[in-house]
Structures are given as C-alpha cells and as structure tokens.
C-alpha cells in the first residue's frame, strides 16, 4: 500500500511541478466542449448531448494524460529500474492508476461544471449521489484502462496515434455507461434515475474486470527483459 501511495505521490508531484493537467489538458478539454457547442449550434440538442460530450472530452483528455504519465517513466528508463526492484509489479500499476484517477477526477468535476455553465445542464439535489457515484466509478475505469494501454505503447514510436486506436474501442462500454448514467443524473427526460443505477453496475464491473486484468498484465507488458 505504501508503495502504491509513493508512486502516486511521485506522479502527482511531477504533475504539480510541470502543470501538464492545469496548463494544457484542462484548457484542451474545455475547448473541446466549446467547439462541440459551436458545431451543434442548438441549445436543446446540447442539453440532450451534454453528458455524452463531457465523457467524450474526458476520453480525449485521458489519452493525453496517459501518454504524459508514461513519457515521464520512459524518458530516462525510470520504469525499467522501478520494475527491477519494486516488490510487486501490480503496485506500480495501481500507483500510476491512482495518480491518473486523481487527475481525471479533478478534470471531470471541471468539465461537469462547464456543462452546467455552457450547456445549461441541471444538477438536482436528489441526483447528486448518483452523479458522484458515476464520476467515481467511471473515472476509476478510465484510469485503469488508460494505465494499462499506456504501458503497452510506452516508449513505442508512433505511440500518440496508437494509444487512442487501442484504448478507445476498449473504452466504448465505459463511454456508453458513463454518458447514459450521467444523463440520468442530469435530469434528462430520456433516462430515469433507476436506469442510471443500472449503468453504474456496468461501470463497477468494468472497473473490476480491467483493474484485475491490469494488475496481472502490467508485469509482462512493462518488463523489458526477453
């Protein structure tokens, strides 16, 4: 547990020092939301699409953060040396996923705020619990899948285009679930709250499946020996 926290703290410290999330990724994601609004050019349509657009922007932003997270590891082969003495490789996976979660959760809160301001989405008192649960479970899923596919393409030439190609199809169920559940929580007419909770169940199983898969698969993917 200490090792997981130490790795997450290390990543967050580097993020705080370089401000990749604050100075680049958050502005990028907000820009995506603004551009969607311009492209769709219809307020009722935007309100209906708000949840999906927020999560789509999350996915794109996650691709940037994941690459950054592994560029830091491979620039001076720090990951190789880390893997050589850490007591269990899955700790590296969970540590990096944890720092990814913290950053993506902050981003999700900002983007939902933007959806309220820009798209006129409403958050009611009785749906706040659902909304927070969706944010947490979906962000966990996004973090573990991002970390898992991040190590696949780490140090690979052309990783900036390979990562989305590999990770986005895998993230499709998460996008569907998170967007629908968020839509329910934002008080949409199309989905009621009970259906929203059904989607949370999907998001939880998704996070559990890929969390366990990542813990197992991280070692063979990260170790450079042959």
């Amino acid at each position: 547990m200490n090792a997981i926290l130490a790795i997450a703290r290390k990543d967050l410290r580097i993020e705080w020092r370089t401000r990749t999330l604050l100075a680049r990724v958050i502005p990028f994601a907000l820009l995506v939301l603004v551009l969607f609004a311009v492209a769709l050019d219809s307020e009722p349509l935007l309100l209906r699409a708000a949840a999906g657009l927020v999560w789509l922007a999350m996915l794109f932003a996650a691709m940037l953060l994941v690459q950054r997270s592994f560029d830091v590891e491979t620039a001076d082969h720090a990951l190789d040396s880390l893997m050589s003495f850490v007591s269990s490789p899955s700790k590296v996976f969970f540590g990096k996923a944890l720092s990814m979660f913290v950053q993506l959760f902050a981003l999700a809160v900002v983007l939902l705020g933007a959806a309220v301001v820009l798209y006129g989405a409403r958050v009611d008192g009785d749906s706040v619990v659902l909304l927070v649960t969706v944010l947490i479970t979906a962000t966990i899923g996004l973090s573990v899948v991002g970390t898992l596919y991040g190590v696949v393409v780490a140090n690979m030439s052309g990783r900036d285009s390979l990562l989305p190609l590999l990770a986005l199809p895998v993230l499709a169920p998460l996008l569907i679930g998170a967007a629908r559940a968020t839509e329910a929580a934002l008080g949409s007419d199309t989905i009621d709250l009970a259906n929203g909770w059904a989607w949370v169940a999907l998001l939880v199983s998704y996070a559990v499946v890929f969390g366990s898969a990542g813990a197992v698969a991280f070692a063979p993917l990260a170790q450079s020996d042959s």
């Binding site: 290390k10 580097i14 830091v72 082969h77 720090a78 040396s81 003495f85 020996d225």
Partner: protein, 209 residues
C-alpha cells in the same frame, strides 16, 4: 540473442568474490552488456548457469532482482524531481528511512545544494551519483554498471572510481564495463577482458586496495 539463434556469449567461466571491484573490458560487441544483463536476470541463459550470492539467476530471479542493482546507460531518474526526491522515492519503495537517504547522499558526495536541484538540471556526473545513491538506498549488494564512465569528464571519472572503491569497502560487489582498453590513472584491482564472447584475459593487480 533475442531470437535464440545467436548466443552473444560463447563460454564465460567467471567467479567474482564478494566485495570485489571488477572492470569488464572489451570492445563493442564482445558481450559485456549481455553478461551484466544476464547476471541481473534480464537476459535468458541458453546454456550453463549463473549464480549471484548463492542464488540461481534463472530459477530465483525475484530474489536476485532485489539484490542486484543494474545501471545501464540511463540513470532511471525523474527529471522533474530533485535529486533528493529521486532518492527518497526509491527509499519509500524499499522501506528505507530518511536517515538512509541522508547517509546515501552523503556517501556519494551530493551536497544539499545539488540535492535540491531538479535532476534534469544536473550535470552528467551528478546524475550518475544520484543514481548510485539510489543503489545505496536500495541496499543493492551487487552493482552492475554498464559504462558508468561514459559522458563524464576527467575529474568526475576519478571521483566515480573513488565512489566505487568506497562501495566495495562497505560490502558491495561492483562489476562495471568499459570499452576503453586503458583507463588512465585508475587502479582497478581486477580487470577481465572479453573478446568474441569469451574471457580473453583475467588480471588481478598485486595491490587490491
């Protein structure tokens, strides 16, 4: 080697004793790096066996991994952390304390000014020292250093030699590679020369310290 077709090492029969400082020499392509990777359990043994501190490298890889510190051409540092934070990070992962960090920095001559600087802003020699401090904190008992002198100037080289000699005095065993045939001014207790994947020469100097 990767395809299992061409062995990089043909027949190396070698015993390194605890606390020894050994220079592995040989021109490029003679199998020096492969030998180090093999001892660290990172390259497959097609034939024969390798033991580190009594543990079989092929069968007890996880034990060997924790005792061996392999430092390649890269230092494995995070450029945006300070030198001290880099060493502290390693310390946290292996359960070493703040005192261990301080004494490691001290042993490698990393003063507080250098320790507080971003690793990315340090000189090549300072970065190499920080990486070695991490090996000290890890309590690695066998140091395998691949071309540790590369990229260092004359003074930094001499200092590195001193650091390696100190390390062996405090119980570590150090094997490092160099592609230079003569290291001017260095008094290396034991020099092994590889050529064509075999040991061509093994010389122990009369004055080991």
């Amino acid at each position: 080697m990767a395809l299992g077709g061409f062995p990089a090492l043909a027949g190396v029969d070698l015993v390194v004793r605890c606390g020894e400082l050994v220079a592995l020499r040989g021109a490029n392509g003679t199998g020096k790096s492969t030998l180090l990777r093999l001892c660290a359990g990172l390259a497959p043994l097609t034939r024969g066996s390798a033991h580190v501190l009594g543990f079989d490298v092929a069968r007890q890889r996880d034990v060997v991994r924790t005792m061996v510190g392999l430092l390649g051409h890269d230092n494995g540092l995070y450029a945006d952390l300070t030198a001290r934070e880099n060493v502290e990070f390693v310390a946290q992962l292996v359960g070493a304390g703040t005192n261990d960090v301080e004494s490691a920095l001290d042993r490698l001559g990393i003063d507080s000014r250098v320790a507080a600087a971003r690793a990315g802003a340090l000189s090549a020699g300072q970065r190499r020292r920080t990486a070695l401090a991490a090996l000290v904190v890890r309590r690695a008992r066998l140091w395998l250093l691949d071309e540790p002198h590369a990229g260092l100037d004359g003074q930094a080289r001499a200092e590195l030699d001193g650091i390696l000699r100190d390390a062996t005095r405090s119980g570590a065993t150090v094997v490092y590679t160099t592609h230079e045939l003569e290291v001017p001014g260095a008094r290396i207790p034991r020099t092994i020369t590889l050529s064509g994947g075999i040991v061509a020469r093994d010389v122990e100097s009369a004055d080991p310290s």
